[in-house]
Each structure stands twice: as structure tokens, then as C-alpha cells.
Subunit: 207 residues, 2 copies
Amino acid sequence: MTRASTRKPGEATGDEQAAVPRRLLEHATKLFAKKGFDRTSVQEIVEAAGVTKGAMYHYFGSKDDLLYEIYARVLREQTRQLESVASSAAPLRERLAAAASDVVVSSIDNLDDNTIFLQSMHQLSPDKQKAVRAERRKYHERFRGLIEEGQASGEFRTDKPADVVVDFFFGSVHHLGSWYRRSGSLTARQIGDHYADLLLDALRPPA
Amino acid sequence: MTRASTRKPGEATGDEQAAVPRRLLEHATKLFAKKGFDRTSVQEIVEAAGVTKGAMYHYFGSKDDLLYEIYARVLREQTRQLESVASSAAPLRERLAAAASDVVVSSIDNLDDNTIFLQSMHQLSPDKQKAVRAERRKYHERFRGLIEEGQASGEFRTDKPADVVVDFFFGSVHHLGSWYRRSGSLTARQIGDHYADLLLDALRPPA
DNA sequence: GTCGGCATACCGACCGGTCGGTGTCCAAAG
DNA sequence: CTTTGGACACCGACCGGTCGGTATGCCGAC
């Protein structure tokens, strides 16, 4: 209407640059994190993204779909990152420390996604929830593999089951969103290194 | 009508023993934990509790109120328990280990309340949310005090800020509900002791 | 002309909360 | 002993509003 310039779909137009699906995902993420999934209406999302419901239901099958896409993107990214660090040639302790610190930093960088994961996972439809859980599981198993490697080599204590340690650590990571504030005195990397130190030292064989 | 026996209000009647407010709280807890706060309708709660909406709004001011009462009860109990352990005469390391293990056990015993805390806290009205946060904060500060005591005495490492360690640990605790299953091979106390060990060992001064 | 890419109007379901009533018990009056 | 009155505990129909989703139409590009 008001905007008469010819443009190819998906191309930038100046103020509202990104393609429609991207904008929807972006604003949905922010709103879900701030108000929760159920309390964010589709109307709010499309208004924030500057489109209408028709546009949204043109690209996404449902409100659930939106949430699922947000999850899937984050999970893919974190899995990719872990795989890259874990399979490097560095010594085991360094690989684990890097993986631990990295996941903290990336969780802080994307605090919104993290918050959503925490609060809204259980509101997904059962089958989509299953898909997300399976992906998350793969991630945890890869991480656990690092710990088991250290237990086998004698570098890490063996009196604590590796899966308990993994759940222990990722509990901490998932909860970053509930207390970390950017205004705090510590940077994301500092927190990440602290967390990695705590994990590594907790894994030292007992005296 | 059908029940003609004389009884004092609040007294057991056989099949539906507990008083109405108690029953409401109990069933609300289960439903909130299973389906989330927003997805549980007042109608469902009162049906599960075997009463009507009129009864519920007679005892509680709102659906929010129900949630708040659930929180408050758990927080009071955990605070009481921590205070009792922390102020005992035992050596510091034992007090901290007991406090850590206890909070894990109590969190597992009341997995539902824990789940709700995680998922629904942000859906409370702002002022009630503030009240809950303040109470939670007091709890954390008491716990942090134990760690600072050990840092001052040289028993614990001082290169990690105590509040980071507290958030690290309680992240793990709050997330128990997302993975712990009663069908698993470890008892609540075993998990608690594992977690306490990990915490205490992570706090050992570095080599 | 027809097809993708939206906009707009609208539907039916549901939800939290309200409100006028009802049964029961107890205590004081007669 | 009987009556009365009213406090308490609860019932359940109902209301205003909101929400996810859909049906239909328009419009420029090819």
C-alpha cells in the first residue's frame, strides 16, 4: 500500500530488512522469552513483525510450529559447535573445558532462546516435543562421551556416574537465564570459564 | 444430601478426606506441573478436587493465588530446613554437605512443586512474583553464607565468587525435575550425596 | 490468467471471574 | 423445646473478552 517500491521477495527494503519468516521468528523469540508462550498471542507476534496473521499462517502451520522452529535452530547450532570442539586434537581436559565454557557463552549470547527452552518446551505438541528431546539427548550423549573418556583414562574420578555429572552441569547451564543479567560485573566468557573450572575440578579424582 | 452424618468442618469424611482448600492446592499442584499453569483451567482443577468454582473462589482470590500459595508453602519449608542444618554445631563442610544433599532430596520428594517453580514462576502477577523472589533470595543468601564462611577459613577456594557457585549449584537443583525419574536406579538420597560431593569437591582449593 | 504472497474479516471455543441463590449449623430469643 | 436469624460454605449458570485458526479476496509479477 504505502510502500510502492518494487523489490524481490526476501530482499532488504531499508527499515524492515529481513524476509517475513525471519522477522516472525525473531520477534516471536523475543516475545516468548518475555511473556511466555501461552501468554503471547499470535496477534502480538504479527504486529511486532509488521505483518498480519494471514502472512504468518502462510509460512507456518501453527503457533506451535513457530516455537518448534526456534528450538530446532538453537539445537542445531549448539550441536554443531560441540561437535567441532569435541573432535579437535587438543588434550581431553582442554576439549571438555572449551565445550563447557562455549556452551555457557552461547547460552548467554542467546539468553532468549535459553529461557524459552526452559519455560515452554512442555507446551509443544507431544510429537514435536519428542523430536526436540531426541535432539537434546544426542547433544548430552556427546558431552557425556568426553567425561567417560576421561574416566577411562584415569584423568577423572570414576565414583560419579557420567550421566549424573552431565545433568548436574547442564542444569546449571539451563538456569543461566534466570539470574544472569548483562548489567552484572562478569562477562559471558568469565562465567563460562568459572563454570568450566568448577566442572573440571569437581571431576578431579578424590584425594 | 446423600451424606447425612454430622461432622465438624475440616474433618475427614472417609473417601474425600482432606479439607477443601487442601484438596484444591493438592490437585492444582499436580495439574500445574503436568500441563503448565496457563493450560490448566480453573474448571479442571475444581473437577479434579471434586468441588465447584464457587468453592474455589470462596477460599482463593484468584487462580494466581493458588499458584502463589503453592510456592509459598515450598519456600517456607525449604528455608526452615536450611536454617536448621546451617546453624547446627557440626563442622562447616558437613553442614554444607548436609544442606546440599537435603535440598536435593526435598526437591525430588516434591518434584511437582519444583517443576512448577521452574515453569510458572514468571506467570505470577508482578507483586507476588516479587515476594517469591525476595524469599528465594533470602534462601540463597543463607546458603552463600556457608560458602563464604569456608572461603574465609581457607577451607574453600577463593578464586570463584561465592554467588557464582551458588547459582551454579541451584541451577542443577532446580533442573532435577527435567530428568529425574523415580524409575531410575538412583535414590533421591544417592543423587543428593553425589551432588553434595560434586559441590564440595569443586570448592576444594586448586592444586 | 493464474499463482504466490499476503490482508482482512470473522468464527467458534474456551476461560477467568462473578453473582444470586441454597443448604446447614449454631446461638439466642420466646 | 421451638423458632428465628444470620454466618458460613458452597453451588452453578452466566458474562465479557480473548485467542488460535480459517475463508476469502486483492494485487502485482510472470
